[in-house]
Point group: C2
Chain length 364, copies 2
């Protein structure tokens, strides 16, 4: 059958391996598998969200209120913006999809860091737009600016703050200085999927959506419930921008794009501040162990503002390491497909991290 | 800000009004509102699905197994096709989105009935493809064939079997005769969102996905968990087609497009045959009351193979009727935006229907 030409270049996201797959492929018991490959919150689902899901399970037959106004209002209160400044997606992923499809086309271009969240490129390829990347893996605003000035056809710039899968994070000041240079017709997407972590660790990293969109009306801030808010499986994310941008993105929003239980769970998670704060605090306490371990073993790592850490190897092969760990029931993320001899490890619970160090040490 | 030209013509789906909105706008108590506007299963969520959701609420922090293999295997068993023939979507809606974006473009065309599921047109408009419609509101294969033969650029044909929002349904024989005439490069989408209802009422309407895709490799069968399976709020649907088609649609499938609890709930609902069968049986028993009521009042209706019925008016105005009912807490669907002076009513529980007749009678 004939398909659109553009499909030939479209690729799929390489997701972190699920526990079920390791059970199937290696015959390992569920209780013996540790998943440190997908940057979920290892402390689980917020208790308030569990309660909301259980209490509303019997309403699963009903479509959600399409306006999703209650969750949008809760977010608007949290961020001190209007509900009209907020769009909800099935993960912030889907808001990226709306944004890319609203502006990118075969006659223009998008710009991103060499190594960053893979969905930027995947959605961009669907539109056959030109994809430009910085020479460095990590975000360097001078490289972004250099390419931007040489390419008048750039319509979207992606900044991942902090950056997945590497963990580094630009300072707010660097970001704002960069934004001053960008034309008002160019949409700059600031992906804050891990912002809760970054701003906890270092207030210089903190981006306030309200301040951002007031100063720079051409920006779109993204947030998610999949990371610190412990709802990866529920698929809820949001975009915050000025009303004109939101109105245009909404044109591409399918009806009921977030499930009814996801909306309720996200709302409950937003109010479960105690759980979220504790998760973030624990995360950085445990991260120190990964840093110490790396130093002891002479492994290079990238200072991380997220809930994961990236180990870089010189002699050892990252794919081999990932495979060996997998056979022992430990799921981490090999970054070889990004052109890096590195692995990305989600910071787990103390017990999970203990097990990781134990197994990892054996194969070093 | 600049946006893609195509956005100017894109419109949003007009969803059935949610209970929350009626509470907000008219100050009516939740317990006094009857929602017969969105064709949900009025008997609620399948008990096995409720159990699965509650039992797994604590796992909501974890991304689902991206392959969704367990649900795909359960469906493959149900329909006697291979798991490779199945793609899952956030509602069958999303499979429509994948299909349209995989083939439609500004240089070709799609064909659908004049009045049919609105998402066919909405997704098509996103691609700037040419949209062709039959002159009759209801599906007439001779009209489809006539337009098909005159337009060599048609890439997709939509058949809604039975048709939403009207309720009529082509016989399998008519469909197969039609398919014989269609080129193998043209994708024919057979939307079976209400097939469980139609095939229960009349075996001549029953489309078997296995037989369909074997005889006609250019077809895509769609099914959903939102209707008979009582999971509208969970957003799970599926497409069944030959492997080449599925492989191409999968290129447009975002990661984790169905939530982890939705996958488990759908799997459980699939095994809750007792609940589903009872819901369908009750539906047609109650539909008779709507037919008798219409005949008594001299209201024309379309014979329905679904869980809703369409009443057509000559002198009275459907928008006025819908508004008046809404103020009394009864949500039905006005079809004036489809160019019809008609309302679509979901067949409710006996108690809900009683209330509908009571209120409706007052305003006739």
């Amino acid at each position: 059958m004939r398909f659109n030409e553009v499909l030939k270049n479209v690729k799929n996201y390489e997701a972190g391996k699920p526990i079920e797959l390791v059970m199937r492929e290696f015959g390992i018991k569920e209780s013996e598998i540790i998943k440190l490959g997908s940057n979920e919150n290892p402390y689980g689902t917020p208790p308030k969200a569990i309660k909301a899901i259980k209490a509303n399970a019997n309403k699963a037959y009903m479509y959600p209120d399409e306006s999703m106004i209650e969750l949008r209002e809760a977010l608007s209160e949290r961020f001190n913006v209007r509900a009209e400044n907020i769009i909800l997606g099935a993960g912030s992923d889907q808001v990226i999809e709306f944004a890319v499809h609203s502006k990118a086309n075969p006659n223009n271009a998008v710009l991103m860091a060499k190594t960053t969240f893979a969905m930027y490129e995947i959605y961009s390829k669907q539109t056959a737009t030109k994809i430009l990347k910085t020479p460095s893996h990590e975000h360097k605003t001078e490289e972004f600016l250099d390419i931007y000035k040489k390419n008048k056809d750039i319509e979207i710039i992606f900044l991942c703050l902090p950056n997945n899968p590497l963990g580094e994070c630009l300072d707010k000041k660097e970001v704002y200085n960069f934004l001053e240079e960008i034309d008002e017709n160019v949409l700059v997407i600031l992906d804050g999927a891990y912002q809760e972590y970054a701003s906890y660790k270092d207030s210089n990293k903190k981006i306030e959506p309200k301040d951002l969109i007031e100063k720079f009306p051409n920006t779109l801030y993204l947030g998610t419930f999949s990371k610190a808010y412990g709802l990866g499986g529920m698929r809820v994310g949001y975009g915050i921008a000025n009303e004109e941008i939101i109105k245009n993105l909404k044109k591409l929003q399918p009806p009921f794009n977030v499930t009814s239980l996801s909306i309720l769970a996200a709302h409950a998670a937003l109010l479960d501040e105690k759980f979220v704060l504790k998760s973030i605090k624990n995360n950085f306490e445990e991260m120190i162990r990964y840093e110490i371990f790396a130093k002891e073993k002479g492994i290079k790592y990238i200072e991380s503002y997220t809930n994961f850490i990236t180990y870089l190897f010189s002699s050892k092969n990252s794919s081999e390491i990932a495979k060996t760990l997998l056979r022992r029931g430990i799921i981490i993320r090999d970054l070889s497909s990004y052109g890096l001899n590195a692995i990305r490890i989600t910071i787990g619970t103390p017990k999970q991290n203990e097990r990781f160090f134990e197994e990892f040490e054996k194969i070093l």
